[in-house]
């Protein structure tokens, strides 16, 4: 069943059209990779799906389990299971990571009408997940992402994803800034979350990540559109020949 349907989406930012009729369908259980040159609109797409203010949708629609996503406020989308691992995670000084995780998790659960986690249950869960991602406990006492290295910030995104158990995970350049070991750990974390109910959209510039997180479908984006879709071998093809051939198509 289709989890996410993006239909002929047109988006403007500050009077300039960035997405010019983008179409994409992601089914439950699938992993989709999106590749494309800098500035082709990958992050823009992820922001619009998540509901970031400042983007004007001038055409098309986005359905999530058949519901109009664009009608929902971003926190409602989060509670419904839309998760975006940011390309550039922000720092929140003075707010301990642990406090943040708990506040966010309970806010989502409350919105879904579920009970809040008890403190011991929550701590147990965080410990488990952070251990598997190689995140030391004392890092969780620090302000959210404050003074974290690039790699630590990305791991913190995967930690949240594992904790919130969303049904749609959008990973925007999760691999940038990760060293080889960290990449493998983070990818293992992501793979552990693959399930028949959950779908993932993995945005990346490098085929290497797709060796770890093997996609069902690969899309090539150029100038605000999906210009080609194929199997995982499409990524290899891109690695060999670059984007030039698709730019003409766009």
């Amino acid at each position: 069943m289709a989890l996410l349907e993006v239909k002929d989406l047109k988006v403007r930012v500050e009077e300039r059209e960035i997405l010019h009729g983008l179409t994409l369908t992601v089914n439950e259980g699938q992993v989709h990779a999106i590749m494309g040159p800098n500035g082709s609109g990958k992050s823009t797409l992820s922001h619009v799906i998540a509901g970031k203010p400042g983007y004007e949708v001038t055409g098309g629609q986005i359905l999530f389990r058949g519901e109009d996503l664009l009608e929902m406020s971003p926190d409602v989308r989060a509670a419904k299971g839309v998760f975006l691992a940011f390309q550039y995670p922000v720092e929140i000084p003075g707010v301990a990571t642990m406090t943040f995780l708990r506040t966010a998790l309970n806010a989502q659960r409350k919105a879904r009408g579920e009970s809040e986690y008890s403190t011991p249950d929550f701590l147990k869960k965080v410990r488990e997940v952070s251990k598997s991602l190689g995140i030391p406990q004392d890092m969780l006492k620090r302000g959210v992402n404050v003074g974290f290295s690039g790699g630590e910030k990305k791991r913190n995104e995967v930690l949240q994803m594992a904790l919130f158990e969303p049904s749609l995970c959008i990973l925007d350049e999760m691999d940038s800034g990760l060293d080889i070991d960290a990449l493998r750990i983070a990818a293992d974390g992501v793979n552990a979350l693959r399930s028949p109910e959950r779908a993932m959209v993995v945005i990346t510039h490098y085929q290497r990540l797709l060796n770890y997180i093997v996609p069902d479908v690969v899309h090539v984006m150029s100038k605000g559109r999906v210009v080609k879709s194929g199997g995982k071998e499409l990524a290899l093809e891109l690695e060999a020949s670059g984007y030039a051939q698709f730019e003409d198509a766009a």
């Binding site: 203010p53 971003p74 926190d75 922000v90 929140i92 000084p93 003075g94 943040f100 919130f164």
Partner: protein, 498 residues
């Protein structure tokens, strides 16, 4: 709509209904005739059964006040106050003399209950007081002196404090029972001639708290006062005097609320602290007086003089304040670092929203040798409010080795508010080291969106980010107050986003 834009829109819609403490209590009260004259001053003094010296002191202040003019240097703007149009004294009419909590008007007790103040000792036993054998230091006792309009209605835990030798009572009682202490210290930190509002207070102050901690005594519990303004057109003029004798320690908490009204209410308090050799006083305030409605109508005018005198060597005074209410705040808790090696601290969170105007800060006056001071100020402005930090740090010629560190951070929510930093620094000797840091930033759209993407509502996101911004100061508050303050910050910002 961008998040901040939305915040601004919602700020416009804030309404008086959102002030949680805006209820009025219907009780009979005993008022002085309207207006200010020698007669008013005498009326108050008589009501309080004061000795002659006290009346003289008041009258001198009153005469001095007649020669003074209202200060205009603060960055606040308000219509001229008609000092003859106010009531200077209002007391809940007691049925008879109060000797125990049970005799207090149940209406008043109910008011305090609504405010969440643990006035009843019963409630204290259930809530805050540790059970026998319970050594958890976070569950400390708090003794409360509650001031309702102008008089103290009850002081809890008096007996237990007495055992420790600590005097904690309404100042009106202290004037009668401990005249030698009051005479020695009253006006010794804030002289009757100090400034317009302090002089006014000296003439007409009606009640407040008095604390004396004898040499070497560590006060066994947090002391606390709650002020509430209930009567219409009543100025509230409390006077608080706290003395920590040699080697003593006391932590004092002050909380304030007022019912919402269209007209403005005046509040001009004076707080004096005296710390002798090796003594320490920690004074914390959580102020949430009614801030006025969405059009800037009503609200408390808060003109307060708070000053601490580090009179002894190695003494320490620490002010911590969380200011979220009042239409106008004019307040500069200060330290006079007279004793050698004495130190002063000022930790402040000032939140303004709607049409609130805050002009607040501190003065650190270094007089003794090797004195040090530390100022951490966090200003948050939302709506159409103006938030000014005004600070003065001076080192006297003889204050060799004086050190100060100042950090002022301002956070803006929306683009119709303003934050201003006005530091004055004056070092009259070359060995002083003064450091000053200041930042002003807008609440970041990206940070808010990050939080919202993780499931927080817009309001919760703003609350979380702001609580992070003020964390350094929150940590300075006693445990019980920190939790309350954190909630209060979220509540006062709730107004800012819907």
């Amino acid at each position: 709509m961008p998040a901040v834009q939305e915040t601004v829109e919602r700020v416009k819609r804030i309404d008086v209904d959102q002030y949680r403490y805006g209820f009025e209590t219907l009780i009979e009260s005993d008022k002085a005739p309207k207006g200010l004259s020698e007669e008013t001053v005498k009326f108050i003094s008589e009501k309080k059964n004061e000795p002659a010296w006290m009346l003289q002191w008041r009258l001198e202040a009153y005469r001095r006040w007649l020669t003074m003019t209202e200060p205009t240097w603060a960055r606040v703007d308000y219509p001229k106050i008609d000092f003859q149009d106010l009531y200077y004294y209002s007391a809940p009419k007691p049925k008879k003399t109060i000797t125990s909590l049970d005799e207090i008007d149940p209406e008043i007790l109910k008011t305090y209950e609504k405010l969440g103040i643990p006035l009843r000792e019963v409630a204290m036993l259930e809530g805050v007081e540790p059970k026998p054998g319970d050594q958890d230091p976070n569950r400390r006792k708090i003794a409360v002196d509650a001031v309702f309009d102008s008089v103290s209605v009850a002081t809890t835990f008096k007996a237990e404090l007495k055992k420790a030798g600590v005097i904690f009572m309404p100042i009106s009682e202290a004037i009668r029972e401990h005249p030698e202490l009051v005479q020695k210290y009253l006006g010794s930190v804030v002289p009757t001639s100090d400034n317009f509002y302090a002089t006014l207070n000296s003439a007409v102050f009606s009640d407040g708290s008095f604390v004396y901690v004898p040499p070497g005594v560590r006060c066994p519990m947090e002391l606390s006062t709650y002020f509430r303004i209930n009567e219409r057109n009543t100025g509230q003029f409390e006077r608080t005097l706290i003395i920590a004798d040699k080697g003593a320690y006391v932590s004092y908490l002050e909380g304030c609320t007022a019912p919402q009204r269209d007209e403005n209410q005046l509040h001009a308090a004076v707080v004096e602290l005296v710390a002798h050799d090796d003594a320490e006083i920690k004074y914390s305030t959580v102020q949430n007086w009614y801030p006025g409605n969405s059009e800037g109508k009503g609200g408390i005018y808060n003109f307060v003089t708070k000053r601490g005198d580090c009179r002894g060597d190695r003494s320490k005074i620490s002010w911590t304040q969380v200011e979220t209410g009042s239409a106008i705040t004019w307040k500069y808790p200060s330290c006079i670092l007279r004793g050698d090696n004495s130190s002063g601290e000022f930790y402040s969170i000032a939140i303004s929203n709607g049409y609130q105007q805050v002009d607040s800060g501190t003065k650190m006056i270094h007089l003794g040798k090797n004195t040090s001071s530390r100022i951490i100020s966090k200003g948050i402005a939302a709506g159409k409010s103006q938030n000014t930090y005004r600070g003065l740090v001076t080192a006297h010629r003889k204050a060799t080795g004086a050190r100060n560190f100042t950090a002022c951070d301002s956070l803006l929510i929306g683009d119709k508010c303003g934050a201003h930093t006005v530091p004055y620094i004056e070092a009259k000797n070359s060995s002083a080291t003064f450091e000053h840091e200041a930042t002003t930033s807008k609440i970041s759209e990206d940070v808010l969106f990050y939080c919202i993407q993780r499931g927080l509502s817009q309001e919760e996101a703003v609350g979380l980010v702001v609580n992070g911004f003020v964390k350094d100061v929150l940590q300075q508050l006693p445990m019980e107050f920190a939790v309350e303050a954190q909630k209060l910050i979220s509540i006062s910002l709730e107004g800012s986003v819907g």
